[in-house]
Symmetry: C2
Subunit: 162 residues, 2 copies
DNA sequence: AGGTAATTGTTATATTATTACATCAGAACT
DNA sequence: AGTTCTGATGTAATAATATAACAATTACCT
């Protein structure tokens, strides 16, 4: 493990490694199934995102990618991010201009994001009650949903009880 | 009415004028009550935002403000926006990097935003069921909420039935 | 191998936002 | 009236985020 130096709430490096490699192999299979290409660059960017449980900024990713891809430029990163978002492999966190790995790639992709102001980790939750209330509300308004960004900022349970 | 040239769904210019002036006078009273200063610049920026029912971008506001304030610079706009957001007089739409007038200044400020991809108008809704589901979900997660951004993109009823 | 579409390289630039420091205007005090 | 304090604004520079346009390369299909 190289750049994974942030503190996080996960009990051990080992667990986090497992969690990253699970995410990566899932991503790989999904791309295979879908007949889309998880190229080296895309894989590297996805890995860099997963190595943090925090949301990561595009230019931060660029800095981390450069040792692996000397030619990397902003477009390199943004293209990889576009692809990963399209495939539902990461979330864009609108209120942070940042990106976070998505645990739910094959299921329903749009989830509630709980974003901790202290540890900066992002917890994604399917929150079915919220989603169905949202559907009801939209239906009442006659609004046809294309996409959702539901981002809650606050303090997570780990930081509160510390 | 000067720069209000966009099409919108509101039945007449007159109604929209009323709706703008109501928002402005409400804003004025709120600032008085709170002992904060709705200065000329702040008032002008708020007016410019209200003259559109669409979310407006910061540099667009800057362009529209300059005829009124020759010295206006980015900082001028961003400072006014910061103030208006703090006072709950506008919303920042995170997923658009844009700003929209807030109809609910004295009530609960954080609302659901329904953002139409076609007409670009933003509808704010208190959506109590969504909010309470959100509270439940946060409670379950042990998460303490500071702020919320709930932004739904899609097609509004007016654009759908046209 | 040749043709095609997708991906990446490369440069430039657009868009969004902040920082830092100077100046100014008004309220509160003496 | 002058002094001081505070908040607001002026001003310049720059940081941070994102896209566009076009060339070169690679992957895939037959």
């Amino acid at each position: 493990m190289t750049s994974q130096t942030e503190l996080n709430h996960y009990s051990s490096e080992h667990n986090h490694n497992q969690c990253v490699s699970l995410a990566l192999s899932t991503a790989q299979s999904l791309c295979n199934e879908r007949g889309v290409l998880l190229t080296t660059i895309r894989y590297q960017v996805l890995t860099l995102i997963w190595e943090s449980h925090k949301a990561v900024k595009a230019y931060e990713l660029l800095d981390r990618l450069r040792p692996l891809q000397a030619a990397a430029k902003p477009a390199t990163i943004y293209r990889a991010l576009d692809f990963l978002i399209e495939q539902g492999l990461i979330h864009r966190v609108e209120s942070l201009n940042a990106f976070v790995g998505c645990r739910c790639s094959d299921q329903q992709h749009e989830q509630l994001l709980l974003i901790c102001k202290l540890c900066e980790q992002v917890d994604e939750r399917p929150a079915p009650e919220v989603m169905s209330a949202l559907l009801d509300e939209s239906k009442q308004a006659g609004f046809m949903i294309h996409s959702k960004a539901i981002e809650i900022h606050g303090i997570c349970i780990h930081c509160r009880t510390k």
